[in-house]
C-alpha cells in the first residue's frame, strides 16, 4: 500500500529535467519504480486476477515493454484503485469520446500532487517560468466540479495550473456552445496587458470560435501568446484541415505565430502528462512517462517509423493502475534522442484514433431488435 511506499520513489524523476532522459536512462530509472508500483498494485483484486491469468510476476520484470498494459477503456468497467478507499480524495469521471459509459479514475493526494508537479514542469518548457492570464475557448461550466470530467475538462484543469487569471470566451445556452460577446470585448484589453496563453478543443475553436470572429470581422493581436489545442482532429481531418491550415487561420484571427499554436495529446486517465508539439511538430515524452507504439496485429513494440497503437506509461499515480495504458489511438515514433528542438528521449507523432468495428455482413449481431 502506498502508506508504506517510499515517498522518495520518484525523486530521480523530479531531480532531472522533464525532457532530460536519454532513452537508456529512462529504462534504467523508470523500471525499478514501476516494479515497486506493480507490487503494490496487487492489492487490487482485478489487477491480481490479471497478473495471475497471464502468469506475470512483478519481481521478474526486466523491461518497460513487459509491463502488463490494460486497455484505457477498462476504467469504464472496473474499479482499478490501488489504495484503500479512505485515501481517495477525488474520483475523476470522464465521459471520453468513444462511448456512453464513464471512466472512473480514483485519485489520492500523492497522485494529485505528482500530476500537478509534472504538468507544471511540462508547461514551463513551453511557457516559461511566469504565471499568465489563461484564456479558455470553452464555457465556464466545463471546469465546474458539478459537471462530468471530460477530455475538455482535463485540458482546462491541467493547463490552469499555470494561470494567474482565467477567462472563458464561450457560454453554453440550451446545450449549444456560442461565443460570449461580453467577454470578447475585453480581449483587446487582455491582449495589451500581461502575457497570455490560450486553450481550446481543436474542433470547438474551428467550428465555433473562428467562424464567429470571421462573421463579425474581428481580429486580435496576441503575438506573444501560446495556444494549446487538442482533440477533435477526426472531424477536422474529415474536412481535410491539417495542423498547418489550422495554425494559419489562428494566426490570421488571433495574431498568434504559427509555431506557437501547439497541438497536444493527453487523456484523463493519464492526467499530469500531456504531449505538446515541439517547435518541429513532434511530441516528446516527459521523464515520468514512457511511450510504446504497439503493432496492432502482433502487439509487439514497433520500430522507429512504424505505425501502431499508442501505449502511455506513467509513474505518477499511486492510487490506480495507470502504469501502462493501451489507447485506441495510433501513432509512430519519429526518433530517439535526436529531435532538433533539443529535448531528449523518444519523440513521436499522433496519427488518428482507430474506428471501432461495426459488425457487417451475414455474421453480425445475435441481438434481436425490439422494434
Amino acid at each position: 500500500m502506498n502508506e508504506i511506499m517510499n515517498p522518495d520513489l520518484l525523486s530521480g524523476i523530479w531531480d532531472s529535467d522533464v525532457y532530460g532522459f536519454i532513452e537508456s536512462e529512462r529504462e534504467r530509472i523508470l523500471l525499478p519504480i514501476i516494479r515497486t508500483q506493480l507490487q503494490y498494485a496487487l492489492v487490487n483484486e482485478h489487477i491480481l486476477s490479471f497478473f495471475q491469468k497471464i502468469r506475470f510476476d512483478p519481481d521478474h520484470l526486466t523491461s518497460l515493454a513487459q509491463v502488463p498494459w490494460i486497455p484505457v477503456t477498462m476504467f469504464k468497467e472496473f474499479d482499478l484503485a490501488t489504495v484503500p478507499y479512505e485515501q481517495i480524495v477525488k474520483i475523476l469521471r470522464s465521459s471520453g469520446t468513444t462511448g456512453q459509459m464513464t471512466s472512473k479514475i480514483p485519485l489520492d493526494k500523492i497522485t494529485i500532487s505528482n500530476q500537478n508537479k509534472s504538468l507544471s514542469r511540462i508547461l514551463a518548457h513551453y511557457l516559461g517560468p511566469k504565471r499568465m492570464t489563461f484564456i479558455v475557448v470553452d464555457h465556464p461550466g466545463i471546469n465546474s466540479p458539478a459537471n462530468e470530467f471530460s477530455a475538455r475538462t482535463a485540458g482546462v484543469r491541467g493547463l490552469s495550473l499555470y494561470a494567474r487569471k482565467i477567462v472563458y470566451l464561450l457560454k453554453e445556452e440550451d446545450g449549444v456552445l456560442q461565443v460570449n460577446p461580453d467577454v470578447l470585448v475585453e480581449m483587446n484589453e487582455i491582449a495589451s496587458g500581461s502575457p497570455v496563453y490560450i486553450f481550446g478543443f481543436t474542433w470547438i475553436i474551428w467550428s465555433v470560435f473562428l467562424p464567429y470572429l470571421m462573421e463579425h470581422s474581428l481580429r486580435f493581436r496576441f503575438p506573444h501568446a501560446t495556444l494549446f489545442h487538442g482533440g477533435g482532429w477526426k472531424k477536422l481531418q474529415d474536412l481535410s484541415v491539417g495542423k498547418e491550415e489550422f495554425a494559419h487561420e489562428i494566426e490570421k484571427s488571433l495574431g498568434i505565430q504559427s509555431r506557437k499554436t501547439i497541438d497536444f495529446y493527453g487523456m484523463a486517465e493519464q492526467t499530469g502528462i500531456i504531449f505538446p508539439d515541439c517547435e518541429y511538430g513532434y511530441k516528446h515524452v516527459p521523464s515520468c512517462a514512457n511511450i510504446i507504439i504497439r503493432d496492432i496485429q502482433t502487439l509487439k513494440p514497433c520500430g522507429v517509423g512504424e505505425r501502431g497503437l499508442i501505449e502511455v506509461m506513467s509513474v505518477l499515480q499511486t492510487s490506480y493502475y495507470g502504469q501502462a495504458l493501451l489507447t485506441e489511438d495510433t501513432g509512430r515514433i519519429v526518433g530517439l534522442d535526436g529531435c532538433p528542438c533539443g529535448r531528449r528521449g523518444i519523440y513521436f507523432e499522433f496519427l488518428h484514433r482507430v474506428e471501432r468495428a461495426e459488425l457487417r455482413g451475414c455474421g453480425d449481431t445475435f441481438r434481436v431488435k425490439d422494434d
Binding site: 482485478h46 490494460i70 496485429q297 485506441e328 451475414c362 449481431t365 445475435f366
Partner: protein
C-alpha cells in the same frame, strides 16, 4: 466510393466504365443468357469443374483467400450433387420431369439475377454466381470495391477455360459473359432502386440493416427475393465426446472453423458449449489453445483495426474480471474467453471464442432462435439424431461436424438457393 456506378472490366464488359443506368448492362446480359440457355447442362457443370481445377494452377490467382476451397467446391461430383438436389435429374435442356402421365414440368431460368454481396467473405459472390449460372441465369453482382480485382481475375480465368463435349468445344466465355460486376454506394437510393428494378430475382447477403433496406427497394412484381440475412453460429460438445479419443481431432476442426474468415462469416462459431464432464473448462481451453497454435500461420490473416480493438478490449475485460478466465496468444492470433454466463455471446470476431459449461446439452436448446444458422455438433451417437431434430425444430439451419462448419452446402439458410432461381413451367400434353 465515387458517386456513380462502376462497371468493372470483366464478364460481359470489356472495359471499366461509369454508368448511371443498368439498361446497357442488362441488354448485353440478355443476349448472353439466351446463348447460355441453349448450352447443355453437362457443359455448364463441366466448364465450372474445369475452372475449379485450373484456378489452383494459375500463378495470377495464388493468394486469393478461399481459393483452395472454391476449387474443392467446384469438383464435378459436388456440382452434380448441387444440381440434382436443386433441380432434380435432367430438368434443364428442355427435358422435362413428369408430374403424372399427362403433365410434366420444365425448368427455366428466372432471368437476370441481381446479387447484393456482403463484403465479409471475399469469394461469397462467386459462389452465388455459380448457383445462379447452373440455373442458366445471368448475374449482376454488386460487390465491394475491395474484392473487385479478385472477381475480375476469376471471371477472366473462367473465360479462358474450355471443354470438349459431344464433338464440340465449348469455352467458359458463355459463363463469364453472363455476368457483370458493379459497385456503387448502397446509400445512393437512386442507384439502389434502379439495380433492384432490373432484377428478375434478387439475392441479398448482409447484415440486418442491409437486408431490411434492400428488401424495401422497389422491384418487378414477378421478382423473387432470396435473403441470406444475419446469422449466428456456435458449437456444442457433449460429455461423451469430451471424454472420447476423438475429442482432440474435433477441437482441431473447431479451431479451423474459428480461424477461417477471421470469424466474420455467418457460419463462424462464437460460443462453444461443453457438457459437464470430468475435464474442466480450463483444461478444454488448453486443448483448444494447442489446436489453434498448431494451425499454419497463413490461416491467420490480419484483423481489421476495429476488430483488433474489440478483441483487445474483450481481453482486458476477461483478464480483469475475477469471475472470468482467459487464455490468449501473445499476439492477436486467438483469444479463448471462459465464463459461466449462460448465453450466446455477442460476436467479437477476430478469432475470439467464448467457452461455457452446461450441465446438460439440452439446456442449450432454449437459447436457439431462427437467427442461429450453423451448429457445430460434437455429440456421441446415442443422443445425436434426437438432438438434431430438436435443433432443427427450434430454428437451426445447418448441423455440421466441427471442422466443416463453413462448407458451402445446399441447402443453406434453410433454402435450396439455386432452385429458388428458376421457374417451373407446367406442360399438359394430353
Amino acid at each position: 466510393m465515387t458517386d456513380g456506378i462502376i462497371v468493372y472490366a470483366a464478364g460481359c464488359n470489356s472495359e471499366e466504365q461509369f454508368i448511371d443506368s443498368f439498361s446497357s448492362v442488362v441488354q448485353q446480359l440478355e443476349q448472353s443468357r439466351e446463348k447460355l440457355f441453349n448450352y447443355p447442362d453437362d457443359v455448364v457443370l463441366e466448364l465450372f469443374s474445369r475452372f475449379g481445377k485450373e484456378i489452383l494452377q494459375d500463378p495470377n490467382l495464388i493468394g486469393i483467400p478461399g481459393l483452395p476451397y472454391l476449387s474443392l467446391w467446384l469438383r464435378r461430383d459436388n456440382l452434380q450433387s448441387l444440381f440434382s438436389v436443386n433441380f432434380g435429374k435432367k430438368s434443364h435442356d428442355g427435358k422435362s420431369q413428369h408430374i403424372d402421365k399427362r403433365t410434366r414440368m420444365i425448368c427455366v431460368p428466372r432471368g437476370v439475377v441481381c446479387h447484393w454481396i456482403a463484403g465479409n467473405i471475399p469469394l461469397l459472390g462467386f459462389f452465388s454466381f455459380v448457383l445462379a449460372s447452373i440455373g442458366k441465369n445471368a448475374s449482376i453482382l454488386k460487390i465491394d470495391p475491395s474484392v473487385s480485382e479478385i472477381f475480375c481475375l476469376l471471371l477472366r480465368k473462367l473465360k479462358q477455360v474450355s471443354v470438349f463435349h459431344d464433338g464440340v468445344t465449348y469455352t467458359g466465355s458463355i459463363l463469364s459473359d453472363s455476368a457483370s460486376l458493379v459497385s456503387f454506394s448502397g446509400k445512393n437510393s437512386s442507384f439502389s432502386s434502379a439495380f433492384s428494378r432490373v432484377a428478375d430475382c434478387r439475392v441479398v447477403y448482409g447484415s440486418e440493416e442491409a437486408v431490411s433496406a434492400i428488401s424495401r427497394l422497389p422491384c418487378q412484381a414477378h421478382a423473387d427475393t432470396i435473403i441470406y440475412g444475419p446469422k449466428y453460429s456456435f458449437a456444442i460438445f457433449d460429455s461423451e465426446m469430451v471424454c472420447s479419443a476423438n475429442f482432440s481431432s474435433m477441437l482441431e476442426g473447431l479451431a479451423r472453423d474459428i480461424v477461417y474468415f477471421n470469424q466474420a462469416a455467418c457460419s463462424s462459431p462464437h460460443t462453444i458449449f461443453f457438457e459437464k464432464s470430468p475435464v474442466s473448462l480450463r483444461v478444454i481451453g488448453e486443448k483448444l489453445r494447442l489446436a489453434l497454435d498448431t494451425l499454419p500461420d497463413r490461416l491467420f490473416t490480419p484483423l481489421d483495426e476495429g476488430t483488433a480493438l474489440a478483441v483487445i478490449n474483450t481481453r482486458g475485460r476477461y483478464a480483469l474480471d475475477i469471475t472470468k478466465d482467459i487464455l490468449l496468444s501473445d499476439d492477436l492470433k486467438w483469444t479463448i474467453c471462459i465464463n459461466d454466463n449462460f448465453s450466446l455471446e455477442e460476436p467479437v470476431q477476430g478469432r475470439c471464442v467464448f467457452l461455457k459449461e452446461v450441465s446438460d446439452i439440452r439446456d442449450v436448446l432454449p437459447l436457439i432462435t431462427r437467427k442461429v444458422q450453423t451448429v457445430g455438433l460434437g455429440l456421441g451417437e446415442s443422443k445425436r439424431e434426437e438432438y438434431i431434430r430438436e435443433l432443427a425444430y427450434r430454428g437451426v439451419d445447418r448441423v455440421m461436424i466441427p471442422g466443416t462448419m463453413h462448407e458451402y452446402t445446399q441447402p443453406w439458410d434453410g433454402m435450396l438457393g439455386a432452385g429458388r432461381m428458376v421457374r417451373w413451367i407446367a406442360v399438359r400434353d394430353g
